[in-house]
């Protein structure tokens, strides 16, 4: 047998064995957990790699403020609870970034505009400096972390392609809008109103009876409950489907759903989508 033939046969065998092992291990690990793992990898990048480059922290007085409005084109946003009574903006900027007039205060509302955070650097940079981050091409995309104190009761965020991640905030109202950015909300979801055209949603609720309203054209929605859900679920769609984790023991539904109760149906979870699917999970 020729050496070339041997190499091809060995490569084909390794390929088949690799894919088979990958499939077996993924099946063994669990489909839902595997999806969560991949999501965690994306979050790892969001939390550990991009924000490692943060070199600027601005601390702003939040006295007399109850609302924050954030506008961004492509900057990814991560909103978390502040440990004190200040609003903090943590981000990376270089000398060429234009950050003047970033913040405006209008009555009880603080308006933050990240459209002016223009990147002037290269599109990608190669990072060898910190082995813990690994090596690889890192997109030179901005991630901004905003820490908000407890007196802020309302947050409105608009982005074009920037992703949004809102973690563990106890708000009266949270309104999120994006064109293609992904929206990730975790914590006590009292009154959530989120819209995107093509971005996906991940809603991880600490409450069993959250109040969530989601609207999308083609984005998928994944709702994760950490306790037995107690919601009234409605789904308006053209071609979307609803599926459930095994723990909820429900059959997949194709098309619209009206007043599907989980538990007593005290909370509400409404999704409007043209083609996006919904998956409701309980862990």
């Amino acid at each position: 047998m020729k050496t070339t033939t041997k190499v091809i046969l060995i490569t084909a065998a390794v390929t088949i064995v690799s894919f088979s092992l990958s499939g077996m291990l993924a099946k063994n690990y669990g489909e839902g957990k595997m999806t969560q793992y991949l999501q965690d990898v994306a979050n790892y990048s969001f939390n550990h790699v991009d924000l490692e480059f943060a070199n600027t922290e601005e601390s702003l007085s939040a006295e007399k403020l109850i609302e924050i409005e954030v506008n961004s084109t492509e900057v990814d946003l991560k909103i978390e609870k502040s440990s004190d009574d200040k609003i903090k903006l943590i981000y990376s900027k270089n000398s060429k970034d234009k950050t003047t007039d970033l913040i405006h205060i209008n009555g009880l509302t603080m308006k933050i505009d990240f459209d002016q955070l223009k990147r002037e650097g290269p599109w990608v940079k190669f990072n060898f400096t910190n082995p813990e981050e690994g090596t690889g091409f890192l997109a030179n995309q901005s991630v901004v972390k905003i820490l908000v104190p407890e007196n802020i009761r309302k947050i409105k965020i608009k982005t074009v392609s920037g992703d949004m991640k809102v973690l563990n905030l106890d708000l009266e109202e949270l309104k999120l809008e994006s064109v293609s950015g992904h929206i990730d909300i975790q914590g006590k979801l009292n009154d959530i109103n989120a819209k995107t055209i093509s971005g996906d949603f991940l809603v991880n609720s600490d409450l069993d009876n959250p109040k969530v309203k989601i609207s999308t054209v083609s984005g998928d929605t994944r709702a994760v409950f950490n306790s037995e859900p107690n919601i009234n679920f409605n789904f308006e769609t053209v071609s979307g489907e609803v599926s459930f984790s095994e723990s909820l023991a429900r059959k997949e539904i194709s098309g619209a759903v009206k007043d599907l109760n989980f538990g007593k149906g005290e909370g509400s979870f409404e999704v409007q989508s043209t083609s996006g699917d919904v998956k409701i999970e309980k862990y």
Binding site: I8, V14, T15, S18, L21, G23, L25, A26, Y37
Partner: protein
């Protein structure tokens, strides 16, 4: 035109070919003319029947380049040789802009697209393995999940390599067919002359 004038002109027009090849061609032509004279034909008659030395040299050059590319076992050199043969055929017959250059460009375009896919697949597989060591292993998920992703990435790399082997074989086959077509095209031109 006398035999020696014809031979001298042909020698000049054949410049560019290796000296041994020129000598072989000249020897063949001289033998052919001598044989014809021995058979009772006049020198001028024979030389006139061979056509213009310039045209003959172009045809012989094209034939040499096609044969050399066909015999070449190294693919990059065969590709280079095929381009040389293409140039010679275009010089020989301008109508080959349609009958040779057109199909050649279409085939080359398809092959470039195939190689671009192979390259993209290979680069992606390498990038994924890089990303695995840069990000995936830092996420707590258990050894089964890590190995599942790792093996998937190795599988993609294997797939890229198989695609590369397939493209190599397809490229070799296509060029072999293309050179056969070049040869047929040259014989057709010679028959028409």
């Amino acid at each position: 035109m006398k035999k020696q004038d014809f031979i001298n002109q042909l020698k000049t027009e054949l410049q560019g070919l290796p000296a041994t090849e020129i000598n072989d061609i000249i020897r063949d032509q001289e033998e052919m003319i001598s044989d014809a004279i021995a058979a009772g034909r006049t020198e001028e008659e024979i030389v006139n029947s061979l056509g213009e030395p310039k045209e003959l040299a172009r045809s012989l050059k094209a034939e040499f380049k096609i044969d050399k590319a066909t015999e070449e076992s190294n693919l990059p050199l065969q590709v280079k040789g095929a381009f040389g043969a293409l140039g010679a055929l275009l010089v020989l017959a301008p109508f080959n802009l349609i009958f040779v250059l057109g199909p050649f460009c279409a085939v080359i375009g398809t092959l470039i697209a195939g190689w671009a896919v192979t390259l993209a697949l290979g680069t992606t597989s390498l990038a994924l393995i890089g990303v695995f060591f840069a990000k995936f292993i830092f996420v707590t998920a258990g050894i089964a999940a890590h190995f599942s992703v790792f093996f998937a990435f190795i599988g993609i790399m294997g797939l890229a390599m198989l695609f590369g082997f397939a493209m190599y074989a397809v490229t070799k086959l296509i060029f072999k067919m293309m050179l056969s077509y070049f040869k047929w095209n040259l014989n057709f031109i010679k028959a028409q002359a």
